[in-house]
Amino acid sequence: MYDFQSGGDFERDLNLDELLTGIDKSRLISALNVLLDTTVGVVDDTGASVIGDNSSKTVDRVPLHGELEPVGFLQTRTAVPSERLSAAADLMQLILRCNARYLLASDIHLQTQRDDFEELQRRNVALQASEARYKKLSESLEIRVKEQVKTIEKAHLKLYRNEKQASVGRLAAGVAHEINNPLGFIRSNVATAASYLESFYEFNALIDNGASSKDLRKVWEERELSLLLDDFKDLMKESLEGLDRIAKIVIALKGFSRIDQTETERADIDTIVRQICQVAESQWQQKAKLVLELSSENPIQCQSAQLGQVVYGLLGNAVDAIETNGIIRIRTAVRNGVVVLEVQDNGRGIPEAVLAHVFEPFFTTKEVGQGTGLGLTVCHDIVKEHGGTIEIVSQVSKGTRVTVNLPVQNAIQHSRES
């Protein structure tokens, strides 16, 4: 009997039993009995009985062909005319062939189904394996990416700190120049004053030697000692002013250099601006005029050294944007509870395409060694930390205005707390 469950190899030769699968054998044999008008039996190619009565002796026998060879025989108990017998065999062969078609079709169907299923399972296993591989890979990738990001962040932080330090360095160079100037004239003033003292010592010696008041007056006038005395006073006054200026610069520098400052203090923006301008003056001296319009008045709670950095950075960019005959305007004001700081220049301006990138770390249009591309990044970060905003409006070859808004609420809150 044909095994539908496991199916078979569609190429194998089917035996008679298999070929009769699904066929009502008793109906088949009774039909044959009636057609041939005798008792009919069917045996397979080994002689084993398959259907009908094959127990007693048979008279006639005709082969039933499978594909090529006989798969069995049709046999009768009594003689039957040969053409009727072969017609019956033919009929049966037609039935067997029909069934064979069906069996072969179901065989190959089952086989391809099984192959497809196995293929699917194989692919599924392969897929799961590769999925696991990718999962592992992506995990290790994630770790590697995190490490890389950390390294890059460290490097950035270092460069970022360097930029802050460098701005202090650049400032220090300017400061040296600023201090040198008063130092120069103080030294010369003091030297001149010291030389005046000689004349007075000589005059004092005349007094000690008991010179007459007439002689003394004569010498006083000859040596123009009154003039010397007036001049001496001027020299001292000028020197004191110079010293005051140096003191101021030192104070400004001291405040500005505290770049790692984290605690806030009460400071007013106008003072910060003035101090920065004072120490940085040498940077624009030849090519630009500085106009200060400062009216922020109230001190706010802030990190003053950091805000100094902002002013210094914006001022530096403005100076860099100017070729000659520039005007740099720094304005401060309080508008709607916000301290506004504006640095405006009439320099070359920023093209739109460049403007989109200026706050990005390391973005610079300046020559190597000139710009770090961190200036505005640092400014942005400091302003953000103060809860403020920074905006740039620019027109190519007309100039640039950078506006920093710092909320005063910040300051109020802090001052209430303290």
Binding site: F10, E11, H65, G66, E67, L68, E69, R97, A100, R101, L104, A105, I108, H109, Q111, T112, D115, D116
Partner: protein, 222 residues
């Protein structure tokens, strides 16, 4: 490989007509069934759908006895050419002893021919057949149609290939026997090597072919 059944003295050889859809594989088999007259010829079993597309396969059984008494039995199959029936094509191709690749000569069918040939190579590999060793004959069919590649064009393309290339018109039967003979010659070589047809069974190549074709054709062999 051919199945050799020692106890019943039978060697079953499997031949497969492969190729793109509608190239004429089934028609080839029908012509073989009409023309061949070997000692044993089974009925042609055609399993196709109403629109004449082969669904599973077609099968033509043939056979004759070698002088030794060995029954040489051929099972000649066609595969379904339609792309979607690839699993069936693969199953029918497995264990093939020889293949006729039926190409369609029409110019418009060049791409289909190429894809089907690649599919044959790929499926041969999947079912573990050594494509380089496999007896293979290439048949360009439908020579009777107008818009076809010329023989020169075809030969220029196939001249470097190791397989015999034949031209046919299955509709009229032209070239069908020549193709089959070329395949039988190639198949004989491998079967003789494996089953010593000449020495053990007294069967040389010429009579192997002649007996497969049958009496009426054997005289026409050249």
């Amino acid at each position: 490989m051919a199945q050799y059944d020692e106890s019943s003295q039978k060697l079953t050889i499997k031949l497969v007509y492969y190729g793109p859809a509608l190239s004429g594989k089934t028609t080839n088999l029908m012509r073989l069934h009409d023309i061949l007259t070997p000692d044993m010829k089974g009925e042609l079993m055609i399993m196709e759908t109403a629109d004449d597309r082969t669904l599973f396969f077609d099968l033509l059984p043939l056979g004759f006895r070698a002088p030794s008494g060995l029954l040489i039995k051929f099972k000649v199959y066609t595969v379904p050419g339609q792309v979607i029936h690839d699993s069936t094509r693969k199953a029918v191709l497995s264990r093939a002893d020889g293949v006729v690749f039926v190409a369609d000569s029409q110019r418009t069918q060049s791409v289909n021919n190429g894809e089907s040939f690649e599919n044959l190579a790929a499926n041969a590999a999947r079912v573990g057949l050594d494509f380089q060793q496999l007896p293979l004959v290439v048949q360009f069919n439908k020579r009777d149609l107008p818009a076809i590649l010329s023989e020169q064009e075809i030969m220029a393309r196939w001249e470097k290939a190791p397989w015999p290339v034949l031209f046919s018109s299955a509709l009229t039967g032209e070239g069908i026997i020549e193709t089959f003979k070329a395949l039988l010659a190639a198949v004989y070589r491998t079967c003789d090597r494996l089953y010593r047809l000449q020495s053990d069974h007294g069967l040389d190549c010429d009579s192997f072919i002649a007996q497969t074709l049958g009496g009426s054709l054997s005289s026409a062999r050249g």
